[in-house]
């Protein structure tokens, strides 16, 4: 069975890719991912806020309380060199590239214009095969129109594309007024792929402490419905490749994504939950299904259930939603 696919210009042996997760922090895990047949790996994200906070904290703590009191004009020796998180990350990219043959996609997570091009360039120089921009932004400015938010994202993509030559994927949220239009604009801006969708870490409330706290939940297969819809809508209408992420746990989940038009399907939660070798099982079952259903290749399957090629064009739009509700009502 030919399960090869193309993504970001790379010929990949399968459409199963590891998406950004803490697993990718360890070089051994990257090797295991390659051994498990995953065809590319997106590294854990380098967080813009974290880099800024680290630098500000370093400066603050090196200066705080200094030059105030005659006996203690400083409190720390100042090392000659500071290896910021960026340095460690860049070193990790290089080590990963040396250790595996599959493409290593660096991931940069941020929300502002500043710093993107600088970090992107450094990642390219460190040997990243491609770059995934994880544009993480919760607009809360009551005065800022949605168009500005969109333009900000486009601006980031433009500037990064100008700065680097390796392929750039954009991982984005579904929360745009017109996702199709947004996707088109990103396509026009030169994004080599869209990764659909980013899962925001939503805050939770601790009833004991009455404080909000991050509560990271692993995705469930239900989470795959949203990218399934939008990949199905976008397939054939944009040049950029598409990667499906969120809720892909099984071969069935992956196959559905490929059917609506994804070039690759990305897994994180399933690997965290079941281990990296789970990818082998997914691939085997995917191949088995393809064989049982007499497909020749993944490429043959790809987009077959998209809006463009689908039997029911309205299925991805409101009508399907209505039908879903009716079904739910009957079943309950």
């Amino acid at each position: 069975m030919n399960i090869q696919t193309k993504y970001l210009g790379f010929d990949l042996r399968s459409p199963l890719v590891a998406s950004a997760s803490p697993l990718a922090k360890e070089l051994d895990n990257i090797k295991k991912m390659e051994d498990a047949g995953l065809s590319a790996v997106v590294l854990n994200s380098l967080y813009e806020e974290e880099i800024r906070a680290e630098r500000q904290a370093l400066l603050h703590h090196l200066e705080y309380g200094t030059e105030s009191y005659a006996e203690a004009l400083s409190y720390f020796p100042e090392p000659e060199v500071f290896y910021a998180k960026t340095d460690a990350y860049l070193e990790h990219i290089s080590k990963c590239r040396e250790a595996v043959d599959i493409p290593v996609i660096a991931s940069l997570n941020g929300s502002t214009l500043g710093g993107w091009t600088e970090f992107a360039l450094k990642m390219q120089e460190a040997g990243a095969s491609a770059l995934e921009l994880n544009i993480y932004s919760i607009p809360t400015d009551f005065e800022q129109p949605g168009a500005d938010v969109e333009q900000n994202v486009i601006g980031i993509v433009n500037s990064v594309k100008e700065a680097i030559s390796i392929p750039v994927a954009v991982k984005l949220s579904p929360y745009y007024s017109n996702m199709a239009h947004m996707a088109k604009k990103l396509d026009d801006a030169g994004a080599d792929a869209l990764v659909l969708f980013n899962r925001f870490y939503q805050p939770d409330i601790n009833l004991e402490t009455m404080e909000t706290e991050p509560n990271i939940l692993l995705s469930t297969p239900q989470a795959s419905r949203l990218p399934l819809r939008w990949i199905g809508i976008l397939y054939g209408n944009i040049q950029a490749d598409m990667a499906a992420t969120s809720g892909i746990h099984s071969a069935q989940d992956a196959l559905k994504m490929l059917m609506v038009g994804a070039n690759v399907t990305m897994m994180t939660s399933a690997l965290l939950k079941f281990g990296i070798d789970h990818a082998k099982e997914v691939e085997a079952k995917m191949v088995q299904w393809l064989e049982e259903n007499e497909y020749e290749s993944v490429e043959q399957l790809r987009g077959s259930m998209s809006q463009k090629h689908g039997v029911d064009a309205a299925a991805f739009e409101r009508a399907q939603y209505m039908r879903g509700l009716k079904t739910y009502a009957v079943n309950s």
Binding site: I51, R52, R55, Q56, A57, L58, L59, H61, L62, E63, Y64, G65, T66, E67, S68, Y69, A70, E71, A72, L73, S74, Y75, F76, P77, E78, P79, E80, V81, F82, Y83, A84, A88, G114, G115, E118, M210, E211
Partner: protein, 1191 residues
């Protein structure tokens, strides 16, 4: 040969040479010499090499005595070895110094000369330390400036190798050690040329070696000791020539020539001052000015003080000399004169070659960095003209007791107009000093100007004012004194305007720069009357900038250093503006480059924004303000505070006469309450409706500004309108009212109270029962509320249940409003101690942070209650605190014993029942103590009617019959390192002393040097590469005695456990030791949430909570109670909270990953050991009641 120019301070200038010419460096921190050791450790951690291409081995010792011992040993093995120290540190080295000199060993110790503690400690400069060492047989060479300190560090090393006489190379602490100056660096090739390898090899060959064994250090007897002692004479006789030769060789190599005794002045001078170190520079300036006016005066600078070469010394004077004044920067009470005065008289008597002996007078100047100016020098010269010149005089103070002081004209000014003189007033936290150091470097290294920076710091650690004195000029600067005529004055904080007259030193047509939120149009109206008058009368150009706004707009938060530096260059004209800005930008890239491009960028943006926001103010013709300065203390302050301490607070202490000062260093307690510092922009505000009355906010408040009282409702009758009160929730306080009140003018806005408050506002979860709000709008009302609150009667101590925090916290703190860092981790423990036991505590305080914020003038935080009882406090030294406290204890024990004997003897007269009750009183709790005090009052009343010697004796010791206890307190530097031997002995004595170790895990007071309490993987000074070894387990070591109460606590970990440990420690009739985790600014943490760090330290097992109570062993129970739960989180979660550990990851990631893993191993091993100890079965007590059985 090219000569590099550098702008650096005296400590670095010396350390650079010392590092290059030594193989072993033993270090120990002491102000102001610590930075020399820090530099050495830092360079060694980077593998920088000496002139032989090898990295010197730098080792931190446990004390200066230890450092001297290590140096002695290293020298005996033949390694080139040095150390750095000052003051008491040098005194601790003296025993070894005699040995080192007696064995004719080549070495140089570099000394940042500092006062010795007498009636008080002082960190500032004089020569009392080096003078105390003058009998050791060491050569002594004094440097007068940063350049000389750099040069002489090499000259002494070259000389000692040849002479075999060890040398003290000294220079004035702070004045030279911390002065930033532009100097010519000695190139490596010069160092190489000066150090003769043959002599180095000879030194090495004298080292002990088992391949050619010798024996050194014999015990000698009356038959030969004397003769053997005289064998060294030829070496001392030869030394002056050797040093002179070294100076000559150095001069030929560098162009800088020095002489052992260097005369400067009129060749036919009649009056000559003899002086050494930095004071000689001021004298030279005065001499030049006076000679220019036609006088015939001179100064003889003594470079080599030991060996004192009579011939060279007398030969240096002009033959015309008729009068000599010898100025000593030390005091020897009871002597016929100060040391150099006596040496001079002897030398003249023995060797004066010019006929009639000149008249010689001697005087003291500059003790503890007292200013010494050309005006004072002129005063000395004027005194020499008198028919009967004053001898044994002082200059620079007003001595109205024994009238030693000389009059002088303070207006006498010698400074050239070509020197730009700038004064900058900043807050410690605003980066003013750092920016100024940077400016000096820019000017020093980019122009032909010479530059000098001197920095004056506050005595408080929080909210401290800094004053930077900067000089720039085309000629070398010889002005080792503060600026009093400034062309440029910058005030970086408007809060100073209402307190100090910073413009008093401005010259006519000078420049005044103010950082203010007021606009150029409105700023004039914000100035007090005195400022307006200065600006108009002196025709000052007045500029204003809202630097905090520029900082915020540039992403710099509250850091205004770059902005104010840019302003200085933009308007001072020291450099062309564009050139200056280019240099600032370069400097920003250099300074911040390694900390990240973002940091660089925001500073560059700030520079650009500064120019746009800097405005010249149009000055009106007339004064419009009538505002004066705030009084330095509150009107209710006692007379002594008003007359003496207030003068110091107003920065006018220099003008206090001798008669104003207590004669023996004794001061009243409870004086911080009168100094309202108003540091806080925000203060906590209590919400009684949300409050659960747990008392935690008051417990953690490091500054004792949050107070709690429960009281009768009738008290509220005259309460101010905004005074808050609610019903007391404690069942035992039914019907009472309850108030938590904040002292608005004493708060430092640390915010710890808000962080620990567990009560959330149910309607708005972002609010708690105590919340920060802006201070200015509520200052007035809260002052009124505070004044009302303090007058509410305290709840009687015998009615308070002390083992419940919510009740215990109504106890009055007798440690309040200290000058500790905002959010200090030590002071909550001290406050708790005083609440619980302050009315009966005698405290021995080791030198360190706690002795500084506890005892540094002007005002001090140890206080007393309305009955006049409170902690009696003293500080002896750093190393002897445990012994000091034990001395107090045994004195108290003896006095108690004597009092009891007298009560028994006098029981007939005083009444048998009373005597019996007194002797058998149970004082194990507050009611018991309360009752005993009542009995003693009765006893004293009865005694006053008995006319017998024994009754009079008992009257003086009767108060000891009420419970008193001794607390021995200090930090980890004292208890783990320098004072450990004494602490061990004192705890082993079995005496009833209570020891509180506030463990910050570094030498906090001297700037965060590593101690044996420093945990593995922490970066600290002297452990620049991360501490590779684990923390010493002091508690476990002391538990091995079996009869010592030992507790380890962390208030932020479990406050109830802390309280319980304090109560148990005091109750235990034997030695007790509490080791209290104390977060510290030197940890690199957010001080506001520091209690969370403490909690995490406990949760991860990094810090164990336990109590080892020997009384349990007496009952046959296991004495160890492990109060920590098994760690559930990895220690890395704690390590990542603190910069001291994170910096290791950022600077040495590979080492960090290893050390972090080892740190986790430490946690596991420690936990397992303690768990075993706490869980093991414990047998019945033996006869001593001190131990059980092991299994």
């Amino acid at each position: 040969m090219t000569t590099d120019i550098a702008t650096l301070d005296g400590n670095e200038a010396v350390a650079r040479i010392a590092y290059k010419v030594n193989e072993v460096i033993a270090i120990y921190p002491i102000t102001p010499s610590s930075p020399m050791g820090e530099w050495a450790d830092d360079w060694a951690s980077r593998n920088q090499t000496n002139i032989w291409g090898t990295t010197p081995l730098v080792i931190e010792m446990q004390s200066e005595a230890g450092a001297a011992g290590a140096v002695h040993g290293s020298l005996q093995r033949g390694a080139l070895t040095t150390t750095f120290t000052a003051s008491q540190g040098l005194l601790l080295m003296i025993p070894n110094m005699f040995k080192i000199a007696g064995e004719l060993t080549s070495t140089v110790f570099h000394i940042a000369a500092r006062s010795i503690a007498a009636q008080a400690l002082s960190i500032f400069a004089d020569h009392s330390d080096v003078m105390a060492a003058r009998s050791t047989g060491w050569g002594m060479l004094a440097s007068a400036s940063v350049q000389e300190a750099h040069d002489f560090a090499l000259i002494t090393t070259a000389a000692t190798l040849k002479a075999r006489v060890p040398f003290l190379h000294f220079f004035d602490g702070f004045r030279t050690s911390h002065e930033v100056s532009k100097i010519s660096l000695v190139p490596d090739e010069v160092i190489r040329a000066m150090i003769d390898d043959e002599l180095v090899i000879a030194h090495r060959n004298r080292g002990l070696d088992s391949d050619r064994p010798v024996l050194r250090g014999t015990a000698q007897n009356p038959d030969v000791y004397f003769q053997a002692r005289e064998t060294v004479n030829p070496f001392y006789l030869a030394t002056p020539q050797i040093v002179e030769d070294a100076m000559q060789q150095f001069g030929e190599l560098t162009g800088r020539y020095y002489q052992l005794y260097e005369y400067h002045g009129a060749p036919d001078a009649e009056r000559v001052i003899v002086i050494m170190a930095s004071g000689a520079e001021a004298a030279q300036e005065a001499v030049d000015a006076l000679n220019a006016q036609g006088e015939k005066v001179g100064v003889l600078k003594v470079r080599m003080y030991r060996p004192f070469d009579v011939d060279r010394f007398v030969a240096a004077f002009p033959a015309t000399t008729k009068s000599i004044a010898v100025l000593d920067r030390t005091k020897e009470p009871g002597a016929t004169g100060e040391p150099m005065y006596l040496d001079t008289i002897t030398a003249l008597f023995e060797g004066w070659p010019h006929g009639a002996l000149p008249m010689v007078t001697g005087g003291r100047y500059g003790l503890s960095s007292k200013e010494f100016t050309p005006a004072m020098v002129k005063g000395v010269f004027d005194n020499m003209l008198a028919d009967q010149p004053k001898n044994h005089f002082t200059v620079g103070i007003i001595d109205d007791v024994t009238n030693t002081s000389l009059d002088y004209d303070p207006e006498f000014d010698v400074e050239s107009d070509s020197v730009v003189r700038a004064l900058f007033y900043g807050l410690g936290s605003d980066g003013t000093v750092g920016a100024n150091k940077n400016s000096i470097k820019i000017i020093g290294e980019n122009t032909n100007n010479y530059a000098q920076g001197h920095f004056v710091y506050d005595s408080k650690k929080s909210g401290s004012m800094t004053v930077s004195h900067l000089r720039f000029g085309p000629q070398p600067i010889h002005s080792p004194y503060q600026i009093t005529r400034a062309n440029f004055i910058a005030c970086h904080q408007t809060v100073f305007l209402e307190k100090y007259d910073v413009l008093k030193d401005a010259v006519k047509n000078g420049i005044f720069l103010l950082n203010s939120t007021a606009s150029p149009e409105t700023v004039w109206d914000t100035l007090p009357e005195k400022y307006q008058r200065h600006i108009i009368n002196k025709n000052l150009a007045f500029y204003v900038i809202d630097a905090y706004k520029v900082a915020r707009d540039s992403g710099m938060r509250n850091r205004i250093n770059t902005i104010m530096q840019t302003c200085f260059f933009a308007i001072s004209g020291v450099l062309p503006r564009d050139e200056a800005i280019e240099e600032i930008n370069k400097s920003i890239k250099k300074t911040y480059g390694k900390k990240g491009d973002e940091i660089v960028k925001m500073n560059l943006v700030a520079v650009d924004n500064t120019i746009e926001n800097l405005h010249k103010v149009t000055v009106p013709d007339a004064v419009t303000s009538s505002a004066g300065f705030l009084p330095p203390v509150t009107p209710n302050a006692p007379t002594f505070v008003q007359n003496v301490l207030a003068t110091m607070i107003a920065r006018d202490g220099d003008n206090l006469p001798v008669s104003a000062m207590p004669i023996d260093g004794t001061y009243p307690t409870g004086t911080t309450q009168y100094e309202k510092r108003n540091l806080a922009l925000e203060i906590p505000v209590w919400d009684p409706d949300v409050c659960i009355q747990c008392g935690k906010c008051a417990m953690v408040c490091p500054h004792a500004v949050i107070r709690i009282k429960a009281y009768d409702e009738a008290v509220l009758e005259n309460a101010p309108e905004t005074f808050k009160a609610t019903d007391a929730r404690d069942r035992e306080w039914g019907g009472m009212k309850y108030t938590i009140q904040v002292s608005p003018e004493d708060c430092t806005a640390c915010g710890i109270c808000v962080d620990v408050c567990p009560a959330k506002n149910k309607a708005a979860a972002g609010l708690k029962a105590i919340n920060m709000e802006p201070q200015p709008p509520i200052r007035e009302q809260e002052v009124e509320n505070w004044d009302f609150f303090v007058n509410i009667p305290e709840m009687p101590r015998n009615l308070i249940k002390v083992n419940s925090i919510r009740q215990q916290q109504v106890q009055q703190p007798l440690f309040e409003f200290s000058g500790a860092c905002a959010g200090c981790g030590e002071t909550p423990y001290l406050k708790l101690l005083t609440q619980l036991f302050g009315d009966r505590a005698i405290i021995a305080n080791a030198t360190g942070c706690s002795s500084i914020y506890g005892g540094n003038l002007p005002t001090t935080p140890w206080s007393h209650n309305n009955e006049g009882r409170g902690p009696a406090w003293s500080n002896s030294l750093f190393e002897d605190n445990a012994e000091f406290g034990l001395g107090m204890r045994v004195a108290l024990d003896k006095q108690i014993e004597y009092a009891r004997e007298l009560v028994a003897r006098l029981s007939g007269e005083i009444g048998g029942t009373l005597a019996e009750a007194i002797l058998n009183a149970d004082q194990s709790d507050e009611p018991g103590i309360f009752e005993q005090r009542g009995r003693i009052a009765t006893l004293k009343e009865r005694l006053s009617g008995i006319n017998s010697p024994e009754a009079r004796q008992l009257l003086t010791v009767a108060d000891n019959l009420a419970k008193k206890n001794v607390w021995i307190i200090g930090g980890d530097g004292w208890s783990y390192d320098i004072g450990y031997g004494g602490l061990d002995h004192v705890l082993a004595s079995g005496r009833n002393v209570n020891v509180l170790v506030m463990d910050t895990e570094v030498y906090s007071n001297t700037g965060g040097q590593s101690s044996k309490a420093t945990p593995r993987a922490a970066i600290a000074k002297f452990a620049a590469g991360g501490k590779p070894s684990p923390k010493k387990d002091l508690g476990r070591m002391m538990m091995t005695y079996g009869n010592i109460y030992v507790a380890q606590v962390a208030m932020g970990g479990r406050d109830e456990q802390t309280l319980r440990a304090f109560l148990e420690a005091e109750a235990y009739d034997g030695p007790s030791l509490i080791i209290a985790y104390s977060h510290c600014i030197a940890h690199g943490i957010n001080m506001k949430t520091a209690m969370q760090d403490q909690k995490m330290a406990v949760d991860t097992g990094q810090w164990l909570l336990y109590r080892f109570n020997p009384t349990l062993a007496e009952e046959g129970k296991n004495p160890l109670t492990l109060d920590s739960r098994q760690p559930k989180k990895p220690v890395s979660e704690f390590l990542h909270m603190e910069n001291r550990f994170r910096m290791l990851e950022m600077s040495r990631p590979d080492a960090a990953s290893v050390m972090f893993e080892e740190a986790q191993g430490d946690v596991i091993k420690r936990w397992e050991m303690y768990q075993y100890l706490a869980q093991r079965p414990y047998g019945p007590a033996d006869d001593n009641g001190s131990s059980g059985t092991d299994d």
